[in-house]
Each structure stands twice: as C-alpha cells, then as structure tokens.
C-alpha cells in the first residue's frame, strides 16, 4: 500500500513540476509549455479535422501492419522452431540480422514503396515480423518435451497436442509477444511517418517540431503515449490473468 502511495506521489510530482516550472519561468515555457496549456491544446487539436484524419491514417497503418506481421512472424517462428533442419539453417542468420537497426533500411522502403500508406505498412510490418518471429520461436521452444510426452502417452491427437498443450503452455509468452510487437509496430509507423510523409500523426508531430509549435508537439506526444500505455496495460492485464500459474 505504501509502495502504491509512493508511486502516485512520484507521478503527481512529475506532473506538478511540468505544470509549475514552466509557469513560473524556471524552465523556458517556449521549450516546455506548462501541462495545463498542453492539455488544453490537446482538446483543441482533437476537434480539428486535419488531426483526426491524420490519426485515422496512422491507426489504419498500425492496424494493417499488425495484422500482416503477427501471423506471418508467428508462422515463420513456429516453422523454424518445429523443423530442426530449417531451424539450423535459418536461425544463425536471423539472429545476426536481428541485431541490425531496422531503420537504416527505411530509405530502401521509400525507393520501393514511395512515401505513402503502403510504405508505412511495409516498413512497420518488416520491423515487427522479426520480433514476432524470434519470440514465437522462443515460445514454441519453451514448451517442455515432458508435457508433450505425457499427452501422447494418454493418446492425444496432433490437434489435441496443439490445443491442449502447446497453446496453454505458450499463452503467457504469446501475449508478451503481442505486447512487444505492438511497441515495435507503433514505433515503425511513427518513424516512417516522421522520416518522409505527408500524412499521419507522426508527420504532424515532426512538422510541429520543425515549426517550433511546442504546445502542439507535446499534445501529440501525450496523445500517443496515452494510446501506447492503454494498449500495453490492457495486454499486461490479460497476461497476468492467464499466467497466474507461472511462478
């Protein structure tokens, strides 16, 4: 209980500092506008058609990239985890490629896909697929051989092995994968939008920054931070529900 109190106090302290320090000129309000002003701006921005449209575009990009990357990455991950030969061949290269910062490939995506909707989806899906692939492979490998042996000894069919052993055993890791992949996916879309784009919330944030519109910039940051945190916490809540058995 004390810990919760201390955490809330810390949060209140940060928010109060954000409000008071610029308000009293201790921090330059041109660089960091007071929290109250930022929130007022956020309310105003959400009324603007241009901002709403940008949010819609970004959301569509995030969603589509997610829908492409998660099943694709999961399928590939399961494949290299389940097939010993493919695993031996592909794993070393995947591990090496995984270490490369994916953003250096962004110019290539622009050359191939232009600077529109497709490029954002393609780039975000590309970065996310890697994460999902690695985590899915790890999730499959986390299933103990003993668990499978037991089920087989009781005459489980292949389908039952999947539904009764693989899935429940992997569920905590799968949800974690979903959560982390969304972080990568979101980042991918925003980076692509900030780098070269005429649409999307990332593009708006980048141009507010370039034009020194700090209230708008921070309002955008608050909005995206809130969206990311809500998704993250929702999946984390699910995770804690299904992984109560993990000690």
């Amino acid at each position: 209980m004390k810990i919760v109190f201390a955490r809330l106090a810390l949060l209140a302290l940060v928010l109060a500092a954000w409000e008071l320090l610029p308000r009293h000129g201790i921090v330059n309000p041109l660089l960091l506008p007071p929290l109250g002003d930022v929130l007022a701006m956020l309310g105003e921005l959400l009324q603007r058609g241009q901002v709403r449209e940008a949010l819609g575009v970004s959301a569509a990009e995030v969603l589509l990239a997610f829908v492409v990357a998660v099943p694709l990455g999961a399928a590939l991950g399961v494949l290299i985890a389940e097939n010993d030969y493919l695993g031996e061949v592909f794993k070393p290269m995947l591990f090496i490629v995984f270490a490369i910062p994916k953003s250096i490939f962004l110019p290539m995506f622009i050359l191939v896909f232009g600077t529109g909707f497709q490029q954002k989806v393609a780039y975000a899906a590309f970065t996310t697929t890697f994460v999902v692939l690695m985590s899915a492979a790890a999730a499959v490998e986390s299933v103990k051989q003993d668990y499978l042996l037991v089920a087989r000894s009781y005459g489980a069919t292949r389908l039952q092995l999947v539904s009764r052993v693989y899935v429940p055993s992997m569920m905590p890791l799968l949800l974690e994968t979903l959560r982390i992949s969304m972080i990568f996916n979101f980042t991918g879309v925003l980076i692509a939008e900030m780098y070269a784009s005429r649409t999307g919330i990332g593009h708006l944030i980048a141009s507010w920054g370039e034009n020194f519109q700090m209230k708008q910039l921070f309002a955008g940051v608050v909005l995206l931070a809130a969206a990311a945190i809500v998704f993250n916490e929702a999946v984390r809540f699910l995770e804690s529900r299904v992984s109560a058995w993990r000690t």
């Binding site: 003993d146 037991v150 000894s153 009781y154 005459g155 009764r164 058995w245």
Partner: protein, 240 residues
Amino acid sequence: MYGGTVPALENISFNVPAGRFTVIVGPSGCGKTSLLMMLAGLRAQTQGTIQCLGRPIPQPDPLRVGVIFQEASLYPWLTALENIEFPLSLRGTEKKEHRRRAQAMLELVGLSGFGERYPHELSGGMKQRVSIARGLVQDPPVLLMDEPFAALDEQTRMTMGHELLRIWSTTSKTVVFITHSLTEAVYLADEVLVMSARPGRIIDRIHVDLPRPRSYDMMATDVFGRLRDRIWQQIRKSDA
C-alpha cells in the same frame, strides 16, 4: 544423432506377471527409460516384439497402459483436479462423470480438499500423488512408472513408496516401476530385474519374498540387506 549409433538395449527378454509389482533397476544411462518408452508404445523398438495382454503395443494405448512420470510433468496451468481429468477429457465429453472420477482418485491418493490447487501450490510429494491419480484415472490394467520419486527428498520418497503400495494393494494392477534406488527397488518389488550398463541387458532377476504389506522395519532385516547387496554386486560387476 550424429555419427555412429550405440544400441541402447540388447537381448532383452522378460515377462511381467499380471498383478505383480516388477521393478527394473540399473545404472543411469542403461536404457531403462528407453525400455519403458517402448513398453508404453511411445517409442518403436528396432528389433523384437513387445506384447501387452497378448497384443503388441505399436502406439500409446491409455486404456491398456497408464504411464506415471516424474512430478514435473503435471501441467502447471491446470489445477490438481483438472490435471487428473486430463486423460479423460481427451476422449469423452461427460464432464460430470470426469469430475466424479477425478475426485475419487484424489481421495484415493489422500488429497481430497486440494483439488483446486495449482501444482506450484503443492509440495513435491503432493504433486507426485496427483501424478499417480492422473495415471490411475482411466483404470488401465498396467501401470508404468519412470523413476516417479526421483525428484523427491529421501524421506518423502520412502513415504510415497509406502503410499504407492497401499494404493496398489487396493487395485489389482500390473506395475512396472523403474528406479535407480536399490532400497526402493527391494522395498516395493515382487521381482527386481537388474539391468547392466549400456547396452542395457537384463543380467539378473531377483525374487523378493518379503511378506506384504511391507513395513519400514523390514529394511533393517538381514533378508532385505542381502537382497539389496545382491543387486548392488550385479550392477557393479556389469559396470566394471
């Protein structure tokens, strides 16, 4: 496997009388577990035949042969009761009947009241009781046990052995029990089969004529000591 292959088992021939408690004992790596996997239909032998109740067992047949593994093989995402129901739930759909039978098994192994606990909320001995209940729930005439008590401390291990004999005496099952503990082997068995180091062969069959029910006092007797020594000598000879 890469490179050359070493046969795990060689010239194994034995029969297990119905309703008796047979213990297979041997040094680690002698192929005891491979043998049990073959008896369970979980692994195919390269040569020879295995018959169970007069028929070969090319794949797992849970209604003929139940397998009891080490305690770590319980599903951690299922409660004790759900673990026991697991074999039933792979087939039938009569949930109420499953629950009733699982509950009966839970009582048999002395765990009534712990059905809603998850494995991580149970002690090592209790987990092993659940595992035994899971092996018994389909009432197979043959039970195979692969070092079921290996992960338990010595004290719990002896208690569990005694418990197993109690449970076994209320059923009329044929048991094949694998262990590397000589004391456990003599305490439990009607007959002990001694295996040699790899490639595993049966090098001795020892009839244990201690009366039943067994009691802990018997371990201090000369007969018990002589039987254990004989197994130990056989294993040592084969290892040298």
